[in-house]
């Protein structure tokens, strides 16, 4: 409440009362009190008059310049949000992977060209490595088989297993393969020898026959194999010597046994004659 006695102490309160009264935002009681105060206080009355004059000036400016203006419709460019919204809807529509790929590459030609170049480079790389790996595999296959046999054959010979001896002959035959005719004859020889040997080596024979037939078809590949066969030859000759030495020993022993048998028989005859 406004009071004349404490006028200076309630400046803030007066200010609030003045603007509230000026803009008509006071209730009836507050209005009556403030009007009573203005009648009794010249300072507040003068203050209110000054403020009211300024307010009127601002209202005049507003009425003259602003109220005559038409408020134009504010246009908001909804295009971008709408386009974004439509794009969202479009993206929700299910598409095949081929269409999606097409859309992806249709964004920029640089992307398309770079992708095609990368694909081309990958294809060339795959072809190159595939060729390289197949050559390596073939050579490695031949080497591994021949070395396996080379390792196994002398063992068998030394341990006096005559049944396995023909396998050395196979190796010899394999080593000597250099032409179609030779290979055929060797294959036939291998067949005949294998018939006498153990049944375990039958699959080796088939494999060999197949290999021989393949080699006869590809004479160019035999060049590499010749080098391997030369090495095999040296080892096989040594094995052969051992084998022949063993067979000679056996034949000599057989001859000795036969001679002994004959001498025994003659002795028996002599004994019989003496007894008689």
């Amino acid at each position: 409440m406004l009071d004349n006695s404490n006028h200076n102490n309630s400046t803030c309160e007066i200010a609030e009362q003045i603007v509230s009264y000026l803009y008509g935002e006071v209730n009836t009681q507050e209005k009556t009190v403030f009007e009573t105060h203005l009648r009794s206080c010249s300072t507040c009355a003068k203050e209110f008059a000054d403020i009211s004059a300024v307010h009127s000036a601002v209202i005049e400016w507003r009425n003259e310049e602003f109220l005559t203006l038409e408020v134009h419709s504010i246009e908001i460019p909804y295009k971008k949000p709408r386009e974004f919204y439509n794009a969202k809807i479009d993206s929700k529509v299910s598409r095949s992977w081929f269409e999606e790929l097409g859309r992806l590459f249709s964004v920029s030609p640089a992307l398309t060209t770079s992708a095609s170049l990368a694909l081309f480079a990958i294809c060339i790389g795959i072809i190159f490595f595939a060729n390289k790996s197949t050559n390596n595999v073939e050579v490695a296959d031949i080497n591994s088989k021949s070395t396996k046999k080379m390792i196994s054959s002398p063992k068998n010979g030394n341990e006096n297993f005559p049944n396995t001896a023909p396998s050395d002959d196979f190796e010899e035959a394999r080593g000597e393969i250099s032409s179609g005719e030779q290979s055929k004859s060797l294959a036939a020889r291998a067949k005949n020898d294998n018939q006498k040997t153990a049944p375990d080596s039958s699959f080796v024979r088939k494999d060999l026959i197949l290999k021989v037939s393949n080699d006869s078809r590809n004479p160019e590949k035999n060049l590499n194999r010749k080098a391997n066969s030369q090495k095999n030859k040296e080892t096989s000759f040594e094995n052969k010597k051992l084998m022949f030495a063993q067979t000679d020993k056996i034949s000599r022993l057989n001859n000795v046994e036969e001679d002994e048998d004959k001498s025994l028989r003659l002795a028996e005859l002599f004994e019989d004659d003496g007894a008689k």
């Binding site: 603007v19 000036a57 003259e64 310049e65 602003f66 005559t68 203006l69 419709s73 709408r82």
Partner: protein, 206 residues
């Protein structure tokens, strides 16, 4: 109003009219452009008044009002609902006006700096007035406009909200998130400063 390319049925329009500002923003966030159109319809006049009071130029005020709504539309998802929509729009509008003023200052095309050029005056004087009377009136309005524009921003926006937008003290308090007493005292201070500025001019205020 905003011209929508799609036809909006009557039911949607009625529904939108019954919603509060906050509900409309929520609808607009969920990509209902009609809801944002209703927000523009409700606030375009007041925002334009605020911009005009702040900038004192019709063309700049129109641009600022438009930019305010565009900015609001773009930042709909950033509206957290903690403040009122009116406060949010007013804050955007005031910031937009300050940006425009800064831009015009840098370009040295400020209306206040170019007051002598009468061709650039944007207000339209009532046709009922005589030319001599119009000149007097124009001079008078120019002084008032200058005085209002020279006020600090925090005081000026309260004067504009009160005089141009016809907002109540409570509405201004809610919009600016300031106590009611602060709003009243600031308005009082603003009017006092205006009085002092107008007293310096040779022309009588009232």
């Amino acid at each position: 109003m905003i011209n929508f390319s799609c036809k909006v049925d009557l039911k949607t329009r009625v529904m939108v009219n019954n919603l509060t500002d906050e509900q409309l923003v929520e609808q607009a966030v969920n990509e209902n452009s009609e809801a944002f159109g209703e927000i523009v319809k409700r606030w375009e006049r007041k925002i334009f008044a605020l911009c005009f009071g702040m900038l004192a130029r019709e063309d700049e005020a129109r641009d600022a009002a438009q930019e305010t709504f565009i900015s609001a539309y773009k930042n709909l998802k950033n509206f957290r609902g903690e403040a009122k929509v009116s406060s949010w729009l007013h804050r955007i509008a005031v910031n937009q006006c300050l940006t425009v003023k800064r831009r015009t200052k840098t370009r040295s095309e400020s209306f206040l700096d170019d007051e002598n050029n009468t061709e650039k005056k944007v207000f339209v004087a009532p046709s009922r007035l005589l030319p001599s009377r119009m000149t007097e009136q124009n001079e008078r309005l120019k002084i008032i406009r200058q005085a209002v524009n020279s006020l600090p921003v925090d005081l000026r926006q309260i004067v504009v909200m009160k005089e141009f937008e016809d907002m109540t003290f409570q509405e201004i308090s809610d919009t600016l998130d300031l106590p009611l007493s602060t709003i009243k005292s600031r308005l009082y201070t603003a009017l006092k400063q205006l009085r002092m500025k107008l007293e310096r001019t040779p022309m009588e205020v009232v």
